[in-house]
Symmetry: C2
Subunit: 216 residues, 2 copies
């Protein structure tokens, strides 16, 4: 399949993705037509198929890139230090910052898995599992180091991820709380939930990275 390259093609492809995320978030994937998407972007429907031969190719691209972006963001944010409290704090900060910036893409990624083919669903779920495993490893390391007190590592990881992703349901920039304030409160809830033992020196400035990491 020939692909349009160069700056104009890339701009069109980026515009298609952005419009698709917004249309799917508004209507749902099944209800969105490629014709409607083309009209939104201002191109002929045939032009869309140069970038995405099928509608499912488009959905899969959006979902794969969402997960690749999340894994890449975490790979950058992950601290070199082995201390489980710092690693958990970095995970929370990165997770909230990433999802608040991609509210519609997160809705699409969470709601439209049902429309992927079996093979592609497996690919996306593998990336999710890899990302969740990072959190489970941090939690397990913290338990082994005696700094976390957790009943069930798997359930705690799911609970934390759903609690954090839930921020996008109600958070709107410019309202009562800033991203930094929200993140500080979620860090504090997370540390209590995992029964973190934080020493006096770190308690004074418990999660010092917050203001840097969440400067959006």
């Amino acid at each position: 399949m020939a692909r349009t390259t160069g700056s104009d093609g890339e701009k069109t492809e980026a515009a298609v993705r952005e419009a698709a995320v917004n249309l799917i978030a508004r209507l749902g994937y099944e209800a969105m037509s490629m014709r409607q998407l083309a009209a939104e972007v201002g191109v002929q429907a045939a032009a869309l198929y140069r970038y995405f031969p099928t509608k499912e190719d488009l959905l899969f691209t959006l979902m794969r890139e969402h997960m690749e972006g999340l894994l890449a963001a975490w790979s950058t944010a992950r601290p070199a230090a082995a201390d489980p409290v710092s690693r958990l704090a970095a995970y929370v900060e990165n997770h909230i910052a990433f999802h608040i910036e991609r509210r519609h893409a997160t809705h699409v990624s969470n709601m439209e898995l049902r429309s992927l083919s079996h093979e592609r669903l497996t690919q996306v779920l593998k990336m999710r599992t890899a990302y969740e495993k990072e959190l489970r490893t941090i939690l397990r390391d913290g338990v082994e180091a005696g700094v976390f007190s957790i009943d069930d590592t798997g359930l705690t990881a799911m609970a934390l991820i759903q609690m954090m992703t839930g921020v996008i349901v109600w958070f709107r920039p410019g309202e009562r709380l800033s991203v930094t304030e929200v993140t500080t409160t979620y860090l504090s809830m997370t540390m209590r939930l995992v029964g973190a033992k934080i020493d006096a020196s770190s308690a004074a400035r418990p999660f010092g990275r917050v203001t840097d990491a969440v400067a959006l």
Copy 2:
């Protein structure tokens, strides 16, 4: 609008609702047609309009009844005792039990708000706010009684609700954990998250109602 009453009509209406919840959960509301729904139930499309004059009437009915059911379940489960720890435990148990039993209806209620008219959206959101307020009141009472340690009551309520509702994403009956085991772990996470001070006597059987309340 004349409505079919009596047992056959009621059975058809119940079948329509059940089929609608499943179809909307699978396809999305915008993508579902009344014709498709009628075929699923095995009636003529015209028959559907006797029960639900418009597709949006159907959606609104599903959402309103979901929230009415949740408020009614909580009204029954709410303990007479004033103790905030027991009230919070009862809220968690009821929330998890209710949503695990209504996985598809919960998805529909959370995802399809975008398709309600402004007036009906307001009605549904009012019921949600009333339900969330119950939790905020428990949390505030606990802080005032000195048994909970919470930074932000509003954020904590949202975090808890999203953490608990998230159970439906991964929980399937008959897998590794029972509803009772899941609920016990979520109770323990909740109590840690709110910094609950639980005395020795209640710690021995900390959330004793669990096995009764969650007998599904």
